[in-house]
């Protein structure tokens, strides 16, 4: 049963539309951005391509001397290091708690925790900005009632970062909880029964049965969450514009500011490539770790 040329081609025609879209909207743009990152492209060059100058690695060297960029890297690192574990921990906890029962209350809680993730980030960020308002916001008013505050939610450099993280975590829990919940319900009941016969308590069951069975979904959630937090953008863009004192600026927002506000397209492209590389490396490390784990 030798395959004819036609048979060989058929699978490719099925994936072709997807590949075309990927090439048109991801690969080619990435390639163009790479070229742009070696030029001094600005608004003049945009209208008159003969004005574009190739400047080699100058954008990159300048980036790593730019204190605003370095700070945005630190900020992004902060978001990732605090945000990612927090999301995983909380969504896993919520999933385990909801998995305790099947009655109406638990179904309702599932809805409660899932609802934030179907909202639009920008709209929600605007609403949270009102809640965070120092003098007339909901939060400071409530805290004021019990004699606390007022807290400088978005106006103090140290607090502002946390305020943004709280919002992003709140929004991210729902979806990840659902993934964990599905995985939890896929663990065979017999394992728990056997453990119970052996006298294992709830904590031991969780630690030795639940968590190992969830390792793949934990991995999946980690990778997607990690990439999402590396690109942390909407919240600071809408709520703080990167301030106060540059303390909430993320790399993604830095790229946007340089590209679309200051029209330094070459410089912005270089910044986006630094971010691109960081995400690729982080993901590769994750894959390596996962492979190692599965090898055992």
């Amino acid at each position: 049963m030798a395959k004819t040329l036609r048979d060989k081609l058929i699978p490719y025609t099925f994936v072709l539309p997807a590949l075309l879209l990927l090439a048109l909207f991801s690969l080619i743009p990435i390639f163009i951005a790479l070229i742009i990152s070696f030029t001094g492209l600005d608004i003049t060059g945009l209208g008159d391509w003969s004005q574009i100058k190739f400047i080699g690695l100058q954008n990159y060297t300048q980036l790593f001397h730019d204190s605003a960029f370095l700070q945005s890297i630190l900020n992004t690192g902060y978001y990732v290091i605090i945000g990612v574990p927090l999301v995983i921990l909380l969504s896993l906890t919520v999933a385990i708690l909801i998995n305790f029962g099947q009655n109406r209350f638990f179904r309702f809680m599932r809805l409660v925790f899932y609802t934030p993730s179907i909202t639009n980030t920008v709209a929600v960020a605007v609403v949270w900005t009102y809640m965070y308002n120092p003098s007339m916001g909901l939060l400071n008013n409530l805290f004021g009632k019990i004699g606390l505050g007022p807290f400088p939610w978005l106006s103090d450099p140290a607090t502002a970062k946390m305020s943004l993280i709280i919002l992003a975590v709140w929004k991210a829990i729902g979806l990840n909880m659902l993934i964990f919940l599905a995985a939890l319900q896929g663990i065979p009941e017999s394992l728990y029964e056997a453990a119970e016969l052996d006298g294992a308590g709830w904590w031991q069951q969780t630690r030795h049965i639940t968590l190992p069975s969830l390792s793949f979904s934990i991995f999946f959630v980690t990778v997607t969450t990690l990439i999402g937090w590396f690109q942390f953008f909407d919240e600071p863009f809408v709520m703080t514009k990167g301030g106060p004192l540059n303390s909430t600026n993320s790399v993604a927002l830095f790229v946007y500011q340089n590209g679309f506000q200051n029209s330094n397209f070459g410089y912005a492209a270089a910044g986006s490539f630094v971010m691109f590389t960081a995400i690729i490396i982080a993901t590769l490390v994750q894959f390596k770790l996962q492979k190692k784990q599965q090898g055992i």
Partner: protein
Amino acid sequence: MKLAKWLGISVAAAAAALLLVGCGNSSSSSGSNTNNKTITFWYGGDADTAVKPMVDAFTKKTGIKVKIQSIPWSQYNDKLLTAAASKSGPDLILMGTTGMANYVSSKSLMDISKEVKSDKNISPNNYFEGSVKTTEFNGKYYAVPWYVETRVLYYRKDLLKQVGYNEAPKTWDQLYDAATKLSKRGKNMYGFNVDFSEPTFGFMFARQNGATLIKGKTPQFNKKPMVEALDYLAKFYKNGASPKQDLKLTIGQSFGGKAPIPMFISGPWMMNSVKQDAGLKDDQWGVAVLPKGKDNNMSNTGGGNLAVFNYSKNKSAALKLLKYLSTKDSQLQYYKNSDSMPTLKSAWTDKSLSDSRIQVFRKQLNDSEPMPLIKQWDQIGQNYLKAWEPVAMQGASVQKAMDQLNSQTEQLLNK
């Protein structure tokens, strides 16, 4: 709306440019001799209600159909960037004065020097000097001024009276004195808002102190006139006469009632907000020309210009609309519809502009100039805000902040 999307837009724009350069010529050159062609007008704002009636009248008169696309100002620049990159877009554009330098340098705006010089209805002499400056680059004209903005001092008459000022402060010293006295009214009370989210604020005061902002390609930000002016502003923070951070108050909360911030500098767009939201009686507040510094009381001119898109296929029709909208009648009608002040000096004799507060703006326009019109200015403004933040919040040294801003700017200008 992840960053990927924003990057996607930029690259899509670049890709679109590639595609459109190829096929752009064939599409729209057909209807050059007929009357029923359609031109596109990009208008900054949330709705086109203010211009629609005027444009409809134009269509009735000339038979040229006009499609108005109103784009919110917050997205206007993104939209213009894609037009500049793809070399396809509208026929007539409303340009913010601060964006002029950018889009002249990207060759997106048509050189209309010939029209401006031959048609005395749109001759530069008809307009305020500060506005004309935003249309002229290297001796050529790229737009016609349409509406103008300038900043003045808003103040609470009743509260200032209580601290002994029957009139608005006339000099820097009086402003500082009045603000300090007003801030003594109690906790969370201030006198004057030293604006830290307005990128032109410090530069405006520097000019009043005699500063030349940029000489040739050398910025003068760390020289005495500017540093002195900023030191003066920093004093307001230090003694609590100005809030150190955005209090996120509505105008009703900051300027109405007890008015935590009884004096601030802003443009004509605040007039309606104050009237509608502050809940004040007419004699409780006023506007005044800016207090005089060592040199002058020069304010900052902004506003909007009308320009023809350089890659338009309907330039003559677009010019017709530009001229129509630039007549005195049109400008006055636009003022009535939108409160945007006319750029034609002759329009100001009309009785619709006789309101005493509006006349304060008229007076200020004699002493008002735009910020330097160079394509790097947006970024310089942003850098200034960043340099100013530590001064406001933490009392950092002005001289150091300006030294840094100066060397940053030098790099920018010489790139």
